[in-house]
């Protein structure tokens, strides 16, 4: 079995598991919706103010819901020692990491797409555009790479839920800033270009962590 088919098989396993349990989507969407409801009572912004503050609120909602979802999504792998089982089969550890990252990417991206709807319907803030999909894709990839590594670390500590946030949030800060600024530009009517320095930050971040994280994951899987 070559590496690509192993990767696809592991990815299929995660997708089927999510389809059956719906743990990621349920946890993250319910949490995201609750944030939207709480925001409605917590802040009162005019249309002009939404254009400035809206992108930040949107991405904070995405990131917090994402962390909740990622924590739930990997629970099965730890509860049943499935990850160790796959490792004992002799599967390349980079492939294990990439399969978890890509499944996480699909879940996070889907969650973001769905969570835009309550922002439009309930809060009257519509950031949606085709360019925003590209920003969401780049952010989701970076977020998935970092959270796959740190959820694995956090799961083996005593206060998993607290540690997960403390580990992931400071590290994903650059892509959060880039995504917020890009969304702000898009909402203000600017066109997205590949030479935009925020796109460079998003792409650069993903590239750097896509190289370093599989190596680190392979080392800590020994434990």
């Amino acid at each position: 079995m070559n590496l690509m088919s192993t990767l696809l098989l592991l990815l299929k396993k995660d997708l089927v598991l999510e389809w059956r349990t719906k743990e990621f989507i349920t946890a993250s969407l319910v949490f995201g919706m609750l944030i939207v409801v709480v925001l409605n009572f917590g802040i009162r912004l005019t249309n002009d103010q939404w254009a400035t503050a809206g992108p930040g609120i949107l991405w904070v909602c995405f990131i917090l819901s994402g962390i909740i979802g990622v924590g739930r999504a990997f629970q099965n792998d730890f509860d049943n020692d499935a990850l160790i089982g796959i490792d004992l089969l002799g599967v390349n550890r980079d492939i294990i990491f990439l399969s978890k990252t890509f499944s996480c990417l699909i879940f996070v991206f889907t969650m973001e797409l769905v969570l835009v709807i309550p922002f439009i319907a309930l809060l009257g803030f519509n950031p949606f555009s085709v360019s925003l999909l590209a920003v969401m894709g780049l952010f989701s990839l970076g977020f998935s790479i970092v959270s796959t590594l740190f959820v694995f670390v956090a799961n083996q500590t005593k206060s998993k839920d607290v540690i997960m946030y403390i580990l992931i949030l400071p590290v994903v800060l650059p892509i959060l800033i880039a995504s917020v600024e890009l969304t702000r530009e898009l909402v203000s009517g600017y066109e997205l270009s590949f030479t935009n320095h925020w796109i460079v930050i998003l792409a650069g971040f993903n590239l750097v962590y896509l190289v370093i994280c599989p190596w680190l994951f392979g080392i800590i899987l020994d434990e």
Binding site: V153, P170, A178, I201, I219, I220
Partner: protein, 226 residues
Amino acid sequence: MKKIRNILLAMPIVLMLVNIYLIFLVAPTDINLGHIQRIFYLHVPTALLSFVVFFTVAGLSVSYLINKNKAVDRLSQALAEVGLVYVTLALITGSIWAKPVWGVWWTWEPRLTTTLILWFIYVAYVMVRSYTADTNRGSKFAAVLGIVGGINVPIVYYSVMLRSIHPGPVIGDETKLPDSMLWVLVFSLITFGVVLLALVKERHFTLYADQVISDHKLRRQQKSII
């Protein structure tokens, strides 16, 4: 041996006393900022050294993950813990300086934001170790965080810098220090460096002693089982 250790412990105390004397009685008072400028001699060395320590921890973390050398891990832990104290001091002194000079306790300027993120990564580094039951596992996780943090800090700085270019001018106008202030700053930097080394040395020693005791306990338990 004990005499040498006592001298090494006394040196930072003497240097710090001289440093305080230089800062408050020798260094000239700034014409524009007044006495508040003197906190600069505490703030700059702690901030600078906390960044140096942080990148050293990142380098040592790579070395530990490759060679699994326990001494390197102990040194990383000692450096990170003392680094956390230094970065906390840098943030506090920075805020005290910012209030009368900028009119606010805090501003989301690149250097300040990066230092705050550095503080969070240091806290996470120390927490990961203490929240992991298995010491070896904790060391590996901390090393992973040390490396990721080392890569992340420059990216955070760059992205916050880009962000702060848009709304307005960057706070912190760079002006050349006169020699009478510069040499006090250099002396303060050396003093804080020596204090850091002394603290790291002491912490490293207690970590080593801790390991020797736990190894001894383990051996005794193994003997009693046999």
